[in-house]
C-alpha cells in the first residue's frame, strides 16, 4: 500500500499527461467531428499502454543515466515537484513541457544528493528538445507534399478523401498514441525504475517483468487521464487554437508520431548502432512542441506566410525556464521531506580509492597518484571537485573513475533469506549462480559483475540491447542493495 502512495506522484503525472497530450493526437479529429471522442479515447488508451509496456525502456534508460534516484521517497518528490511545476506554469499560462519539468526535477535531486549529473546525457536531452520540433517541421513538409500529390494524381473525390482521412486519423492516431506511451512513460515512471518494487510474475505462461509492471501501471494512469479529462482539452484544441483542415491535422499527427517513435524506438536505435550509423538518442520529448513544429512546417509548405514567430520564441524560453523552476522546486521540496518529515530521499553513495581500483583505472589508461588523493569521498561531487582542483583527472574521465570507485562493500551471505525473497524476481539459474559466490566479499560492483559473468551465461553483461541492459542493471542494483554492508545516512 505504501508503495502505491509513493508511486502516486508518478501516477498523477501520468494522469495529467493523458489529459493534456492526448489532444495532440486526436484533438483536431474530435474537434472537427471526424471522430467521436469515445472512439478516440479507447484507441488512444489501448495504444498508449502498449507503447509504454513494449517500448518504454529506452527513454527511461536515458533519464536514469541523467540521474538515478535511488530512494523511493526521493523519486516520489521528484515526480511530485515536476507535476507541480507543470500545474503551476499552466495556471500562469506559461509554456511548459512535462519532459522538461522532469529533467529539471532529476537535476534538482542530483544537486541535493551530491550525485554528479551525467552531462553527456544532459546535452543529448537538451539537443533533442531543440532538434525534435525542427524534425517534426521537416517531416510535416515532406508528408504534406506527399498527401497533396496523392490527392492531385489520383483525383481523390471530396467524399473519398473524407473516408481516407478518417481511416488515416485512426491508424496514425494509434501509432501516435503508441509512440506517446513509448516516449513519455519515462516522464511518468522513469524516476521509479532504479527503485522499482515490482518483481517478475507469471500470468498464463507469460513472464511479466517488474519493469513492465511499472510501465503498465504508468500507462494505465495515462489511459485514465485520457478517459476522464481529455475531452475538454480535445474540444478546445479542435476548435480553438490552430484552425486546421482534417487533412492538415493528419499530416501534423503523422509527423509528431514519427518523431516520438524515432526518439523512443529501441529496435531502431539498436539497428542503427549495429550498422555504425548515427542513431537518434532515446529521450522523452514534448509532444506539444512537436505539434507546433509540424504546424510551422505546414506554414512553410504554404509559403512561409502567417507563421507566428512569437510562439516559437515562447517555446524556446520554456526550454530554459521550465527545468530551472522545476529543479529549484524539487531541491526545496526534498529539503523539507528530508528535514521536516524525516524521510531519506537518497541513499548515500561513497567512493573508495583502493589499490585494486587504482589498478583497474590504469587499465583504462587513467593514472591516479595515490598520494595526491583521499582514500574515501562521501559523494560524487566532492570526488570530482578534488580531482579537478588538483588536476589529477580530466572532466572526460570522471565518469569512468566514478564507475570503478563506487564503494558498494558487498558481502554475499544470508543466502536463505535472499533465495526466498528473490524467487519471484530472479530465475532459478540466476539465483544458483549467485549462491556460488557465498561468503565472498566485493568492494566494488564491477568486481561483482565480473565474478558473475565468469560463472555462467546467465550473468553475462548484455551489449547493444537496451531492454536487456536495463533489466540487467536493475537486477544488479537489486542484488547490490541486498548485500551491501553500507548503511544510508540521514543528513541533518
Amino acid at each position: 500500500m505504501l508503495i502505491f502512495i509513493f508511486l502516486s506522484s508518478g501516477l498523477f503525472l501520468g494522469w495529467s499527461l493523458g489529459a493534456n497530450d492526448a489532444s495532440n493526437i486526436f484533438g483536431t479529429a474530435v474537434g472537427t467531428k471526424m471522430l467521436k471522442f469515445r472512439t478516440a479515447a479507447i484507441v488512444a488508451s489501448i495504444f498508449v499502454v502498449l507503447g509504454a509496456v513494449i517500448s518504454g525502456t529506452g527513454t527511461s534508460h536515458t533519464l536514469g543515466k541523467l540521474g538515478a534516484v535511488n530512494e523511493i521517497s526521493g523519486a516520489f518528490m521528484v515526480a511530485l515537484s515536476a507535476g507541480f511545476t507543470v500545474f503551476w506554469m499552466t495556471k500562469l499560462k506559461l509554456p511548459v513541457s512535462t519532459s522538461q519539468a522532469v529533467v529539471g526535477s532529476i537535476i534538482g535531486w542530483n544537486w541535493f544528493s551530491g550525485t554528479l549529473t551525467d552531462y553527456n546525457a544532459l546535452i543529448k536531452i537538451l539537443l533533442s528538445w531543440i532538434t525534435s520540433p525542427m524534425l517534426a517541421a521537416v517531416f510535416a513538409i515532406i508528408i504534406y507534399f506527399i498527401v497533396r500529390k496523392f490527392t492531385m494524381v489520383f483525383k481523390v473525390s471530396l467524399f473519398r478523401l473524407d473516408t481516407y482521412t478518417r481511416i488515416g486519423l485512426i491508424l496514425i492516431g494509434s501509432f501516435g498514441a503508441y509512440s506517446l506511451g513509448a516516449n513519455n512513460i519515462a516522464n511518468v515512471m522513469g524516476v521509479f525504475v532504479p527503485i522499482s518494487p515490482f518483481k517478475t510474475f507469471s500470468f498464463a505462461g507469460i513472464d511479466i517483468s517488474g519493469l513492465e509492471q511499472l510501465f503498465l501501471i504508468g500507462g494505465l494512469s495515462i489511459a485514465v487521464g485520457i478517459m476522464t479529462y481529455s475531452k475538454k482539452v480535445m474540444e478546445t484544441v479542435g476548435t480553438g487554437l490552430v484552425k486546421m483542415s482534417p487533412q492538415a491535422a493528419l499530416v501534423v499527427v503523422a509527423s509528431m508520431s514519427l518523431v516520438l517513435f524515432l526518439f523512443a524506438s529501441n529496435s531502431l536505435h539498436t539497428f542503427l548502432v549495429s550498422h555504425h550509423l548515427p542513431a537518434f538518442p532515446l529521450v522523452p520529448v514534448s509532444s506539444s512542441q512537436l505539434v507546433i513544429g509540424a504546424v510551422v512546417g505546414i506554414g512553410i509548405a504554404h509559403g512561409g506566410k502567417n507563421i507566428k514567430y512569437s510562439v516559437l520564441g515562447r517555446i524556446a524560453s520554456g526550454w530554459i525556464s521550465t527545468p530551472i523552476i522545476s529543479a529549484i522546486i524539487t531541491f526545496v521540496a526534498l529539503f523539507f521531506l528530508q528535514n521536516v518529515f524525516d524521510q531519506n530521499v537518497y541513499k548515500n553513495v561513497s567512493y573508495k580509492f583502493s589499490a585494486i581500483a587504482i589498478e583497474k583505472l590504469e587499465e583504462q589508461e587513467i593514472i591516479i597518484p595515490p598520494k595526491k588523493i583521499k582514500k574515501y569521498y562521501k559523494n560524487a561531487i566532492s570526488l570530482k571537485r578534488d580531482l579537478l582542483r588538483k588536476k589529477i583527472a580530466s572532466k572526460s574521465s570522471i565518469r569512468t573513475i566514478l564507475n570503478y570507485t563506487q564503494y558498494d562493500n558487498l558481502r554475499i551471505d544470508h543466502l536463505d533469506t535472499f533465495n526466498r525473497q528473490s524467487s519471484n524476481y530472479l530465475s532459478e539459474d540466476e539465483i544458483s549462480a549467485i549462491n556460488l559466490l557465498k561468503n565472498q566479499e566485493f568492494a566494488y560492483r564491477w568486481q561483482f559483475k565480473e565474478a558473475m559473468a565468469e560463472l555462467n551465461g546467465f550473468w553475462k553483461i548484455p551489449e547493444n540491447n537496451i531492454n536487456s541492459l536495463t533489466e540487467y542493471e536493475a537486477k544488479v542494483d537489486y542484488i547490490c542493495d541486498y548485500f551491501t554492508q553500507n548503511k544510508y545516512v540521514k543528513i541533518k
Binding site: 471526424m34 498527401v147 492531385m152 483525383k155 471530396l158 467524399f159 473524407d162 481511416i167 482534417p246 492538415a248
Partner: protein, 216 residues
C-alpha cells in the same frame, strides 16, 4: 469493417453524380421543349414537360438523400456547409428551368418566327452556362486544380446569354405592331431564361471561393 465504409462513400458519390446529371438533362430537355414549341409539335412539348417534371422530382430526392447522409453521418465536416449550399443553389437552376418550360406549356406565348433563332441562341448559351458550371462542380469535388479551366467558360457563356437576352428584348420592344402585353409576355420568358444563366454564374462564384478553402 472497411468495406461497408467504402460502399457508403461510393453510394454517396454516385448520388451526387446523378444529381449533377439530372441538372444537365433538365437543361437539354428544356432546349428540346422550346424547339418542339417552335416546330408546333405540342404533343412532344407535353412529353418534355412530363420528363422535366420527373427530372426535377428526381433531383429533389437525390438532393435530400445526399443532405441527409452528410448530416446523419457527419461527413466532410469542413466542407459540408459549402457542399449543402452548392446542392441548394444547383437545385434552384433545375427548379427555374422546370418552371419556365411548364409556363411555356401553360401560357403558350405568341412568338414570331423572326425571334426563333435569337431565342434558340439564348437557350443554347443558357444550356452551355449550366453545362460548364456542372463541369466546374465535378472538378471541385474531384480535381480542384481543373476548376480554373471551366470556371471562365461559365462566365463566357453567361455573358453570351446576357448579350442574346438584350438583343432579343430590344428586337421585341422595337416591333411596333406587337401589343405591349405580348411584349411583356415575351420579356418574361427572356428574363426567365437569362436568370437561369445568372443562377449558374452565382454557383460558379461560390465554387471559386470554395476551391480556395478546399486546399489542405
Amino acid at each position: 469493417m472497411l468495406m461497408p465504409l467504402f460502399q457508403k462513400t461510393k453510394t454517396l458519390e454516385n448520388k451526387f453524380d446523378d444529381f449533377l446529371n439530372v441538372t444537365v438533362e433538365t437543361g437539354l430537355t428544356f432546349q428540346l421543349g422550346f424547339k418542339s414549341y417552335f416546330d408546333k409539335e405540342f404533343e412532344k412539348l407535353e412529353e418534355y414537360v412530363t420528363t422535366i417534371r420527373s427530372l426535377e422530382s428526381k433531383g429533389d430526392l437525390l438532393r435530400r438523400d445526399v443532405e441527409n447522409q452528410l448530416y446523419s453521418e457527419t461527413l466532410i465536416p469542413e466542407s459540408r456547409g459549402d457542399v449543402l449550399a452548392l446542392l441548394e443553389n444547383i437545385d434552384n437552376i433545375t427548379n427555374l428551368t422546370e418552371r419556365t418550360l411548364l409556363e411555356l406549356s401553360i401560357e403558350k406565348p405568341e412568338i414570331a418566327e423572326e425571334f426563333y433563332s435569337d431565342f434558340l441562341n439564348l437557350i443554347e448559351s443558357m444550356v452551355s452556362t449550366v453545362d460548364e458550371v456542372i463541369n466546374t462542380t465535378r472538378s471541385f469535388i474531384s480535381d480542384p486544380l481543373k476548376i480554373k479551366n471551366s470556371i471562365h467558360k461559365v462566365y463566357f457563356w453567361e455573358k453570351e446569354a446576357d448579350k442574346h437576352a438584350e438583343k432579343l428584348k430590344r428586337a421585341v420592344f422595337e416591333k411596333a405592331e406587337l401589343e405591349l402585353g405580348k411584349k411583356f409576355h415575351l420579356r418574361y420568358f427572356i428574363l426567365a431564361i437569362d436568370s437561369i444563366a445568372d443562377l449558374a454564374e452565382d454557383v460558379a462564384d461560390r465554387l471559386a471561393i470554395y476551391s480556395i478553402k478546399r486546399s489542405i
